[in-house]
Symmetry: C2
Subunit: 395 residues, 2 copies
């Protein structure tokens, strides 16, 4: 076997790097870690995590070229290479910072940058689901000298999977339990949950977006108090529930609709906020924030109560994301779910911020071991597939 692929032995401990840039295009997340074994035997040890900022002009160009009315193929073609160079630099940089020679790194797992995502087959001219990531992994492997696995999402589109979300695989690998039914809840702008029944197999995992995360609270705190977020729920805790507003919010259809489901900024964005504002003129501002906070907790509770099958009695709810730092959300969740142990995400150095970077290192490890990692119950794919393309480095 050529030396470039000697690391395919799944038993040994490997040094790896995970890379990604999210839809907000703020920075390249890079994680340096050790991975042992693969599949459900996987063990990880985090060495370092750093976010490398993406220059404003580059961010602007990426966003412009993600949009169907302004994207140009010349730019897509060039950015695919240029962004890969940025990703490679992030990998080289985190190695240097930790005094680890690139020869000692076994592989990189790189998500790249999503510039288009089309999971709605009914709207497709060619009747396909598709997704497009740039930041070419061949360029990353050549510049770093480290074999790189990338472009993870598209394989799942082959058999009508959405190519997203992929995080539930990480939840499955690291957080499934033999004795507890666990929920992994991430409260970002949108809230999503992964359900891990005790002793579950990969195909028994399911996950969906429950509804709004912090985005409604954040929007109204910005408008009413000119603050970016309600730190420690200080504003909400100085108000109280407004029943009328609460019952109006409950008319939202999304949070009540059946999984599989996913939503984005468009559903709880400007339009939704404007409707709230039209209604709340005579309500004390603090009460509005309290009520939105309770509504957010309520939609999560509602989804767990309604859509987690009765036989999977949830024992633990592990909360990550910005919402896990909101004590009112955490308190309300515990009150709504008295039989469930609600706790903040904390796992061997993996933080809410670094979780996704860990995911892509783990997906690369699985790909190199020949294991399928798409989750049919989560993405809707009809078949198991190995996610990722392997780009061998030549040294």
């Amino acid at each position: 076997l050529p030396s470039s692929i000697k690391f395919l032995n799944p038993k040994s401990e490997k040094t790896a790097i995970g890379l990604l840039s999210g839809t907000s295009v703020d920075g390249i997340d890079a994680i340096l870690l050790k991975i042992k074994n693969c599949g459900t035997e996987t063990k990880v040890k985090i060495l370092d995590f750093k976010t490398f900022p993406i220059p404003k002009t580059l961010k602007a160009s990426i966003l412009l070229n993600s949009n169907n009315s302004s994207a140009k193929i010349v730019n897509i073609c060039e950015l695919n290479v240029y962004l890969a160079k940025m990703f490679a630099n992030a990998a080289l940089n985190i190695c240097k910072k930790n005094k680890i020679k690139t020869e000692k790194v076994d592989f990189i797992g790189s998500h790249g940058q999503t510039i288009h995502h089309l999971p709605d087959k009914s709207k497709s001219r060619w009747k396909v689901k598709s997704t497009l990531q740039i930041g070419d992994p061949s360029v990353i492997s050549n510049l770093t000298g480290i074999t790189t696995v990338g472009d993870f999402r598209i394989a799942d589109c082959t058999f009508d999977g959405d190519g997203a979300p992929l995080v539930p695989f990480l939840d499955y690998i690291l957080f499934r339990s033999k004795t507890n039914n666990r929920g992994l809840l991430n409260i970002g702008g949108i809230a999503n949950i992964t359900i891990l029944p005790k002793g579950c197999s990969k195909d028994e995992v399911f996950a969906f977006d429950t509804g709004p995360g912090n985005m409604l609270i954040d929007s109204l705190v910005k408008i009413l108090f000119n603050k970016n977020f309600d730190k420690n729920a200080k504003i909400a805790l100085s108000g109280k529930l407004n029943f009328e507003l609460f019952s109006i919010l409950q008319q939202d259809y999304y949070f009540k609709s059946k999984p599989p489901k996913s939503t984005g900024r468009e559903l709880y964005g400007e339009k939704f906020v404007k409707e709230i504002l039209r209604f709340v003129k005579r309500i004390p501002k603090e009460d509005i924030i309290y009520t939105l906070t309770e509504f957010t907790a309520f939609t999560i509770y509602y989804n767990i109560k309604k859509f987690v099958p009765a036989k999977i009695k949830l024992n633990e709810l592990i909360v990550s994301g910005g919402g896990s730092c909101n004590p009112l959300i955490m308190k309300l969740l515990q009150e709504y779910l008295p039989d469930v142990k609600v706790k903040k995400f904390n796992f061997n150095g993996i933080t809410a911020e670094s979780k996704e970077a860990v995911l892509f290192a783990i997906l690369a490890n699985e790909c190199l071991c020949g294991n399928p990692t798409n989750m049919k119950n989560v993405t809707g794919s009809k078949k198991d597939t190995i996610l990722g393309k392997i780009c061998l480095a030549y040294n």
Copy 2:
């Protein structure tokens, strides 16, 4: 090691498929072949070759989405998946036709479809060379169940290579000789030559476009005789050389410029033809065709005489492409090069049409063996790289 990558043993005989669609987007070429060993030890045995037509609406959409003013990211994103399905069907089809089970095929090498190619770094906003192929290899590997290597060109762009041409690697693997200095000449629309000095290493190979191939002759035959091409040089052979036209044609700058160089339809296209037409009003039509045929042969001769270093005394010139079927071109080449044995391409079942499909199967084989296949003297890359991304099939 997982079973999905057991075929990486370079010694055994492998069954492989090569796939590509060219810039004219007329069809998907599929070749089924046996490959033994790798590198300069490679042996191939062709089993079958077939071109699968690309439907007109799909061709139109691909061309529309290759053009910077009309390309839309939604279409690029979707066509990447849809075209991959067509490529997968071509592979499945050629297996079926030859009664070979897909489990017996070790790998596919797929070029995909180039929709953009930007080798001019000076014109790039981000100061990169880049290229974009669609027809995602992960989708092909999933649909066929055959591990697929694809996306060969972009790795070469990492170190400022053009990502093209790639054919000289095939010439090197199959046609280099220990005793003869060989030229591999392909006369398509444009003529290009690969020079293989005797006993050469990969880095001693060089290649470039010499100038017009059949395109000037074809254009004028169409305009003056309303025929698609000058079959058996019948028209030219009924005329004679017009010295005035010949000396005017010799003022063309491209064929005289130094390699590395490459040209396309834009240089010997409509504008060039119009200038010829303006000049030739009083010249017999047959003489025009004779003169263009001689000019074509002359530019090839000129390039060999001028740009093949004197120490590499060419012994053989092996000619492929449509031009090899033009007896006047072949006769003139032999007259211009009396010390060189000029002969028609013919190699163990590989035809001028199937040559490129063979290339991508061979590049896949090399990638799976961990061998670099870009040629620094040909593409301008500063470093050796392994071309291709490996997409493992899960069965």
